[in-house]
């Protein structure tokens, strides 16, 4: 317990160093973590309630991995403990420590959210015409078709929705999420929708 107390909940500097000091990428990684964590926690709770050691070990391993990726040191440590206990079929450890894990995760998410709210830019003031949007969508589509990586910097135009309809704004937001989560097929469908909307809007 004493070692655990020495660890900081979130080591922001180490997280930033891991993404080669690129803040836009860190924002992206942290956003993904915040989005995906509830599902991980849900699976963990489910595996505890059904006493599924294998599933509990697998999901604890996954939580340990993403926690280490974002430098959530305390969460990484407790998830490692969960993984080991689940492998040893000591599910009582997981039952007893679940509340602690949730508390650590809540604190981590809170600290990350404070950071994100200071970094996430509001809608860009510059506006792009439909031709620029269509060019950008076409280039994204080409990359998605061969599963090429698309960096958050390439999605800038999708943030600049000034002058676009509500429907396009909503679709652009969905598209950014899908690209960041590598859901390529859904992303390509969303691009089709946006292209149709833009063409209809002239």
């Amino acid at each position: 317990m004493s070692v655990e107390q020495e660890l900081v909940c979130w080591d922001q500097n180490s997280a930033l160093k891991r993404v080669v000091n690129q803040e836009s990428l860190l924002v992206n990684v942290l956003t993904l973590f915040i989005e995906e964590f509830p599902e991980h926690l849900h699976v963990l709770k489910q595996s505890i309630s059904t006493n599924d050691c294998q599933q509990a070990a697998r999901i604890s391993h996954a939580i340990k991995g993403v926690a280490s990726t974002v430098s959530g040191l305390q969460l990484e440590q407790i998830a490692a403990e969960f993984e080991l206990s689940a492998k040893q079929q000591k599910m009582d450890v997981l039952i007893n420590k679940l509340a602690e894990l949730e508390q650590i995760a809540a604190l981590l998410i809170q600290q990350i959210n404070v950071y994100l709210s200071s970094k996430i830019k509001t809608e860009h003031s510059s506006s792009f015409n439909n031709k620029m949007w269509l060019d950008c969508l076409q280039s994204l589509s080409k990359k998605l078709a061969i599963s090429e990586y698309i960096s958050p910097d390439e999605l800038g135009i999708l943030n600049s929705t000034e002058g676009q309809t509500e429907s396009v704004k909503q679709l652009a937001k969905e598209l950014m999420g899908q690209i960041n989560r590598f859901e390529n097929e859904s992303a390509m469908l969303t691009i089709d929708h946006i292209q149709k909307e833009l063409n209809n809007n002239g």
Binding site: R18, V19, G65, V70, E76, Y149, F182
Partner: protein
């Protein structure tokens, strides 16, 4: 520091992890010097490893929901097309026996999470440099310098193996022999530089229009050979006609050029590549006799 991986075209690295956040971190480390492809499952990794642009290196997670990284590694190593792609495991499994297992399965390196960007960059650069050097050596030994197609030496080596395989499994194997029409005249009229560019243009077209498993080779001056796996004579003639039309439409440097093609299918009684080639050569001769820019298929 020497920039060892500075090339005209970026090398391709396939990132495989079922946690998007982990992929984003790896991408942040590598995106300035690699072209990155992404797979979020073992099966997708196996599919993408076979699709162009082919990866020069794979960064592979171990614990994934569908197929474990270890199994993905085994399958990649067992496939001739992907067996020489180096694999680095990037994983949260940090026990010594896990690392030992990964390396025994043929991975070139093993990195544990959380990753350090400097270490990932350095190791990836090292393995990309080694891969590039290996590719260059292979390219020089097995390819024609001008057109970058396989050379005669490679063709003869691989053809004997394909013939044996085709006979053993009773699968059809066909061969196309192609000769550029009036190439000497084109060289004499327009010069060797135009002639060389023409050979390069035709070679590029043949490559682009062929399947990954076909062997496309430059056999001699203006002669090309294509081995078509699991393809009978009818299929081979159809394919040859497509090449003919495509080359006719090409007009490199504005100079019209056509192909005469002989198509043959391997017969059960034929033993060797020499006889197979002789029949294809006779068929090309007939195509020339027929007035060129055509295909003659011989049974």
């Amino acid at each position: 520091m020497v920039e060892t991986t500075k090339k005209v075209e970026k090398q391709v690295v396939l990132l495989v992890d079922d946690e998007p956040a982990n992929i984003q971190v790896l991408a942040a480390c590598l995106q300035d010097f690699c072209q990155l492809k992404v797979a979020t499952s073992g099966q997708q990794a196996l599919d993408l490893a076979l699709k162009k642009p082919l990866p020069d290196l794979i960064l592979l997670d171990i614990e994934m929901q569908d197929i474990e990284g270890y199994d993905v590694c085994v399958q990649l190593k067992n496939n001739l097309t992907t067996s020489n792609i180096p694999i680095i495991f990037v994983t949260g499994k940090n026990a010594e026996e896990d690392e030992e297992k990964g390396l025994e399965l043929g991975a070139v390196d093993y990195i544990t999470k959380p990753v350090s960007s400097a270490i990932v960059r350095a190791r990836v650069k090292t393995h990309l440099t080694l891969k590039h050097q290996q590719d260059q050596l292979k390219l020089m030994a097995l390819h024609d310098h001008l057109t970058k197609l396989y050379n005669r030496h490679y063709l003869m080596d691989v053809a004997e193996k394909k013939i044996a395989h085709s006979k053993r499994h009773q699968q059809p194997l066909s061969l196309l022999m192609m000769d550029l029409d009036h190439f000497k005249q084109i060289n004499d009229t327009h010069g060797h530089l135009v002639g060389d560019r023409m050979l390069q243009g035709v070679a590029k077209l043949l490559m682009e229009q062929s399947r990954l498993e076909d062997v496309v080779a430059r056999f001699g001056g203006e002669e090309f050979v294509i081995l078509l796996d699991q393809c009978d004579l009818t299929g081979a003639v159809e394919k040859a006609q497509e090449y003919c039309s495509a080359v006719e439409a090409l007009k490199p440097d504005g100079v019209p050029v056509t192909l005469s093609i002989g198509a043959v299918q391997l017969c059960a009684e034929q033993d060797n590549f020499k006889d197979f080639m002789k029949r294809a050569d006779d068929a090309v001769y007939k195509a020339k006799e027929k007035g060129r820019n055509c295909v003659v298929g011989e049974t």
